[in-house]
């Protein structure tokens, strides 16, 4: 170069390079970012972390002037769905207000990306309709009259009632009912500290079906698919757009697809997920398990399953011993039997059941057969949550993984507990010593979670009553089936003495509360969490960002209310304070669980709680923090998340280390027991407790081909193709993965019957939690009924026409949306819409219609108890401090269809089976979209019909207990409490650990 003056010849490139190297080393030693990185040219550019204290941007609103704004960037965690994606709050350094939220690039799960619900947090924070002060009802319950009270008044009344209930041994009268916890076990430990079995989750209207299927297989109740590395991704329903761990999984599914992975989607609707599929299978709802069994049969018959994996890891020996004692106990014999077990599940049979052409099923099966150990599969709600026997959907789905050996392999599906890290907390209260039959009734000994949605019926039957009932960011009146029964129960002060709604916003349940206590949104509270989103373990931290910032600026904040809007609090401090007031002098043994360790006798602060946890229970964090000159807590306050481990791999194949092998004994099933103590793990992720052997040795693993390996946390130590638990507890017909006819099976529908799918979400909303976000409301605010054109022609309706949808207990009126995106004979309506407020009540005016509640007091002549909602007014613009509220252009907010669903508890998993057998008719004269009518007498009758399906522990328990001890259970009581009352012994609690088992996440 240089001849035409274009180059500067003989520049010393070597010296330049060396200088760069030296600068880079210096800068990285300081923890600074040296190269902005090639990612800087994509949309994935983030402010470098060393500039988070003072980040300068131009103010978009000032354009064309160049006005600089200075921000402090403070991480927190989204509180909308359960994915717990990282957020970065952009706090204006001048006003100390949060101006917006973006993704946190330091978060290993979400990696800086968010769905619409993350940035919409800023709407929730500034929502003109949010609740800012503690409120107490002034009139009758549900009348809509409220007065502002101070926190002390509320805390004192609550403490006094709870203390009395505990002291009077009325412990079952205190109940905490939670929607998505968004935290890992804090509040469960509060319940345990109080000595009550009062935890009640929403899980049985959500994921218990799928959990049961996974739990019976591998002892762990959730899947953790490694989508990014899969060759075939098999999803049940619209997981790519709205599933559990939606955003963290969706980005990895897309990575997998970019690598060339094939996507197989089972979804009766043409969802956005289905549109991305290589194989879209739109089955008759409830036939999914038949399809999976046909695929399994194909894999077995064509010899394309992983024989070696099956031989090593299935409990086939136990199966042969129990079911074929006459046969030789050899793998060869098992293979022979396996070859015939599913022979009736041909593609022709599956096609007949599912309505999907045989060739399509065969083609998808061929794709799956090509996955090898890179088959990632996932089912969380949808079919498993929709159908009677839905738990067999996830069980037969996992059968495919178990056949292919795609279990905890790269690109396969992991048990979640290995990809999750729950740090041991500062205090671990002991287990409650009694059993709450309002949540764990004897009829459902195998239910994965509390029979929460049956509570109104149990109260009505007189099985118990509640003195203090907390609903926490939970809205059972709206979310659960049979909402009118909930209203009726909540209105009865004999059944519910005091209802306390802990919620940031108004919801349909809070209207029937005595106290409404405002809790913070995602940037206004502390929590930790860890979720299985890839093969790794991370801990995320949610924090009140203004508190974190003020502390960074050198101020001291003692109580989160000091920085939150109004008197909005956070739960951690609330529960600590309430517990101290319940047990002010420590005589009840409660207070010790909420005391400082540094200064015994003093109240535990959130700083000490999390400071201790991050210092003592998160391996690697103290060292990483120290390298940056920070304490572990300061590190988490600065970055919001920490990756503990990556590439955990197949834990079941790990050899049990020498230090745990003391006095080993192997039993006839190959289970290995040791006299050695269990090493204490800082990770207290929920795992089933394994019974010791007769001499009290601890189970450490299983023997496989002469090696002592970790195995699975199941009774057999292996993957349980055959479940002895189901046999022993009265369900021998379901010992193996099989297909159960749904309650909406075509044969049960009757002439003119249709299936209503009500379980799907709108990707931009999350139940009622996100309803106070104006951006999200503008995008999605209604839920018309998906109707196939063929059905629409038969009904004589077009898009927008009103329809009457009749369920077994009533009907609702909804507008039609005629679309080919749904199977003929099936209709669908998202449950996300149909929000309402009673006339005269405050509420979220952008998304709640104003309604009148109509009911007949008592039972009228015909044995009917009619209840209804009638629409008074849709949504309209309103003046507020936010000028956007005058720009509301929508009026229709859909219909609250769940009110017309009766309860459908699956007799095994306890899951509410959401799909509805309905009749759809054109609306009658006078029918208004949005109106709802139900006969509660009918709802009671249907409850009893489903109760008839159960097999009570009283009749089937093999050992006089209420429930198999190894099954996971939130707030596990002592072993003694497991005894059915008739056989209850006293003072014996074998095998009891010292902490509760962890959370039930949605």
């Amino acid at each position: 170069m240089g001849e035409d003056g274009r180059g500067k010849p003989d520049r010393d490139l070597n010296a330049l390079s060396r200088r760069l190297s030296a600068l880079r080393e210096d800068s990285e030693a300081r923890g600074d970012t040296f190269y902005p990185g090639p990612s800087g040219v994509n949309l994935a550019a983030f402010p470098p972390k060393e500039r988070w204290d003072d980040w300068v941007e131009l103010d978009a609103k000032a354009w064309p002037r160049r006005k600089e704004r200075r921000y402090a960037l403070v991480p927190t965690t989204c509180f909308n769905c359960e994915s717990a994606c990282g957020l970065l709050a952009y706090v204006d350094r001048e006003t100390l207000q949060v101006r917006r939220f973006e993704g946190n690039p330091e978060h290993p799960g979400s990696r800086g990306r968010n769905c619409a619900k993350g940035p919409a947090t800023v709407n929730q924070v500034t929502d003109p309709d949010r609740i800012l002060f503690p409120l107490k009802r002034a009139g009758r319950r549900g009348e809509g009259k409220w007065v502002q009270v101070d926190w002390d008044e509320a805390l004192d009344e609550l403490a006094q009632r709870i203390r009395a209930a505990i002291q009077d041994e009325r412990r079952d009268e205190v109940m905490y009912h939670v929607g998505r916890p968004g935290e890992d076990g804090f509040t469960e430990r509060v319940m345990a500290a109080w000595g009550i079995d009062g935890h009640n989750s929403h899980t049985n209207i959500c994921s218990s079906g799928a959990r049961a299927g996974y739990h019976f297989w591998m002892g762990i109740d959730r899947p953790s698919p490694d989508h990014a590395n899969a060759d075939v991704i098999l999803l049940v329903s619209s997981h790519l757009e709205s599933g559990h761990y939606f955003n963290p999984h969706a980005q990895r599914i897309l990575e997998g697809k970019a690598r060339g992975a094939k996507l197989v989607v089972l979804d009766t609707r043409l969802s956005n997920t289905a549109t991305h599929a290589d194989h879209w299978i739109a089955p008759v709802p409830g036939s999914e398990a038949a399809i999976f069994l046909a695929v399994a049969n194909h894999l077995i018959r064509t010899g394309r399953y992983n024989v070696e994996f099956v031989r090593r890891w299935w409990n086939w020996e136990e199966y042969l011993a129990e079911e074929h004692p006459e046969r030789e106990r050899s793998f060869h014999v098992f293979q022979e039997i396996l070859g015939e077990l599913y022979s009736e599940y041909t593609f022709a049979f599956a096609a007949e059941e599912s309505g999907v052409p045989e060739a399509e099923l065969r083609s998808a099966a061929e794709t799956i057969a090509g996955a090898g150990t890179r088959l990632s599969t996932h089912n969380w709600r949808s079919a498993a949550a929709g159908n009677l026997g839905g738990w067999q959907v996830s069980r037969t789905l996992f059968l495919l993984n178990a056949l292919m050996g795609a279990v905890a392999t790269e690109g396969g599906t992991y048990p979640n507990a290995w990809n999750k890290f729950v740090p041991r907390p500062i205090h671990s209260p002991s287990h409650p010593s009694h059993w709450n039959e309002l949540t764990w009734p004897r009829e459902y000994p195998l239910a994965l979670h509390e029979l929460s949605f049956l509570l109104p019926h149990f109260l009505e039957e007189g099985r118990g009553k509640l003195d203090v009932y907390f609903t926490r960011v939970y809205n059972p009146v709206w979310t659960n089936p049979d909402g009118f029964s909930w209203i009726r129960a909540l209105l009865d002060e004999e059944k519910v003495g005091l209802h306390v709604a802990l919620t940031p916003t108004w919801n349909e349940t809070a209207y029937f509360a005595d106290y409404v206590l405002p809790m913070g949104h995602s940037s206004e509270r502390h929590d930790v969490h860890s979720y299985e989103q890839y093969d790794g373990q991370w801990v995320g931290f949610r924090q009140p960002v203004l508190r974190a910032l003020r502390e960074r600026l050198g101020e001291e904040v003692k109580d989160t209310r000091e920085v939150n809007p109004g008197e909005v609090w956070e739960e951690n401090e609330f529960w600590i304070e309430l517990s101290w007031r319940i047990d002010p002098d420590g005589s009840m043994g409660i207070r010790e669980n909420f005391e400082s360790r540094r200064e015994p006798g003093k109240k535990l602060t959130v700083d000490e709680y999390y400071g201790w946890m991050f210092e003592n229970s998160v391996p690697g964090l103290p060292e990483r923090a120290e390298a940056e000159g920070l304490s572990p807590l300061e590190y988490m306050r600065r970055y919001g998340a920490f990756e503990v481990r990556k590439g955990v791999g197949a834990v079941y194949e790990e050899e049990v280390p020498q230090e745990e092998r003391q006095g080993l004994r192997t039993d006839e099933m190959g289970r290995v027991y040791s006299e050695g103590e269990a090493p204490e793990s800082p990770n207290v992720v929920p795992l089933p407790p394994m019974d010791p052997d007769e001499e009290g040795r601890r189970r450490v693993g299983v023997e496989v081909d002469g090696q002592v390996l970790r195995g699975f946390p199941t009774p057999s130590g292996r993957l349980e193709f055959y479940s002895r638990t189901l046999v022993d507890w009265g369900w021998p017909e379901y010992a193996l993965p099989t297909y159960i006819h749904s309650h909406v099976h075509p044969k049960r529908l009757g002439e003119g019957g249709m299936v209503l799918i009500s379980t799907f979400r709108l990707p931009i909303q999350i139940h009622t939690r996100s309803g106070n976000s104006k951006w999200l409301d503008e995008i999605g605010h209604s839920n018309p009924l998906w109707v196939h054109p063929r059905d629409a022609r038969a009904l004589g309706v077009r898009t927008g026409d009103p329809l009457r949808v009749e369920t077994e207990i009533g009907h609702f009126v909804v507008k039609a949306w005629v679309t080919e995106g749904i199977r003929p004979g099936v209709v669908a309506c998202s449950h996300h819409m149909g929000r309402w407020r009673l006339a005269g009540q405050d509420g979220q005016r952008a998304i709640m219609a104003t309604v009148d509640l109509e009911r007949e007091e008592g039972r009228n002549g015909g044995g009917k108890e009619p209840w209804g909602l009638s629409l008074r007014e849709g949504v309209r613009p309103f003046p507020s401090q936010d000028p956007d509220s005058l720009r509301i252009w929508w009026t229709d907010v859909g219909v609250h269809q769940n009110l017309t669903f009766s309860v459908h508890p699956d007799p095994i998993s306890g899951m509410h089976c959401w799909h509805q057998a309905v009749r759809v008719r054109p609306a009658e004269a006078g029918d208004e979209p949005g109106e709802v009518h139900v006969d509660l007498a009918r709802s009671r009758a249907v409850y009893r019909e489903w109760l008839e399906l159960t097999r009570s522990a009283n009749d089937v328990s093999p050992d006089g207990t209420r429930r198999p001890h190894w099954l996971l259970r939130p707030v596990r009581p002592t072993r003694d409490a497991y005894q059915l009352p008739e056989t209850q012994a006293s003072g014996v609690a074998p095998g009891v650990g010292s902490h509760t088992e962890g959370p039930s996440q949605g």
């Binding site: 390079s17 760069l20 902005p36 990185g37 990612s39 949309l43």
Partner: protein, 335 residues
């Protein structure tokens, strides 16, 4: 200089293909390029004048994406990386080159976000060391990347930057050119023409008539009568898109070049994208416009002579294309 050290230089040059920031300012100073200008200049150079994407300069349509980008994406896959969303972005290609230098050396990885999942140039497991075979493969991959996807378009691109940009990016392009020359010397040349070039269609001698709608705003509402009435040259109009496709014509004509050409000859310049503007110029003043284009072709013949050191085959190719463009334009002018 070990290639491991050299990679630092590549990585820093890569990082500067991005909007100015504090980190980039520090890098620029370390490279003795002076302080980067404001974001306007970056936008002017890389967004408005010379988009830093290989496909624009190597693709048969002269646009982003297409087969050229697919070919580059294929290279990412061939070296075991997941292609990023924009696989042919110059910054990414230079960073990829840097990491192949590291791998070929077996040196410890040098920064550039080795631990960053978002950095597509650094897939899992590629960070450090590797066996002798892996190192050899990396060296082979590096040579392929250099000749197949960098040296076959970067020199004329960098020369264009030097024409268009203010001092900072001018100096950046100069330095990168020097680094390319040095690399070309070390690699010792490649006998074969890059596939992008070997497959590139030529400038058509007798381009088809342009659809009438193409004559105007593209709305399709202006009829052919207007085009004829305006005295538009039927062949020349279609010539516009071909001349503006670098790999066909051998010319890189930026917006700035069009403005310069129009001003110098008092041609009417309408606001719009380059193809539209050139068509309008050709329609209004076909003779003068062709004359200017011919001059541009000659300018590029000279420019291409200056970079033969980097990759002889590619230099010859671009020169031949510019020669041919000159001929075609001259014939059109004569007709």
């Amino acid at each position: 200089m070990r290639s491991g050290e050299r990679s630092e230089l590549w990585r820093a040059l890569a990082a500067l293909v991005g909007p100015p920031s504090r980190e980039r300012r520090r890098l620029a100073e370390a490279l003795e390029l002076g302080s980067p200008p404001g974001p306007e200049e970056y936008t002017e150079v890389f967004l408005l004048q010379l988009p830093p994407f290989a496909s624009v300069y190597l693709g048969a349509e002269g646009m982003l994406g297409g087969e050229a980008r697919d070919r580059v994406a294929g290279f990412w896959r061939a070296v075991g990386r997941r292609p990023p969303a924009e696989p042919d972005h110059l910054g990414l290609l230079l960073a990829l080159y840097a990491s192949l230098l590291d791998e070929g050396e077996g040196a410890e990885s040098t920064g550039a976000g080795t631990d960053r999942p978002l950095d597509p140039a650094h897939p899992k497991g590629s960070e450090a060391g590797g066996t002798a075979v892996e190192r050899r493969l990396a060296r082979h991959a590096r040579k392929t990347l250099f000749y197949e996807h960098l040296a076959c378009w970067l020199p004329p691109y960098l020369l264009s930057i030097q024409e268009v940009a203010e001092p900072f990016y001018h100096r950046w392009a100069e330095l990168l050119m020097e680094v390319l020359v040095r690399e070309g010397e070390e690699l010792g040349g490649n006998g074969e023409l890059a596939v992008h070039l070997a497959e590139a269609p030529e400038l058509e001698e007798d381009p088809p008539r342009v659809e009438p709608s193409d004559m105007s705003s593209g709305s399709g509402k202006v009829g052919s009568t207007k085009a004829e009435a305006g005295g538009g040259h039927p062949k020349a109009t279609d010539l516009a898109s071909q001349v503006l496709t670098p790999v066909r014509s051998g010319l890189i004509l930026t917006r700035a070049d069009l403005v310069r050409g129009a001003r110098g000859r008092e041609l009417p310049l309408r606001i719009g994208e380059r193809r539209f503007a050139l068509r309008q110029m050709l329609a209004a003043e076909p003779f003068a416009t062709l004359e200017w284009l011919e001059e541009e072709a000659r300018r590029w013949i000279r420019l291409h002579q200056s970079w033969a050191l980097v990759a002889r085959g590619a230099g010859g190719f671009w020169q031949a294309r510019a020669h041919r463009a000159e001929e075609v334009i001259r014939e059109l002018r004569a007709s």
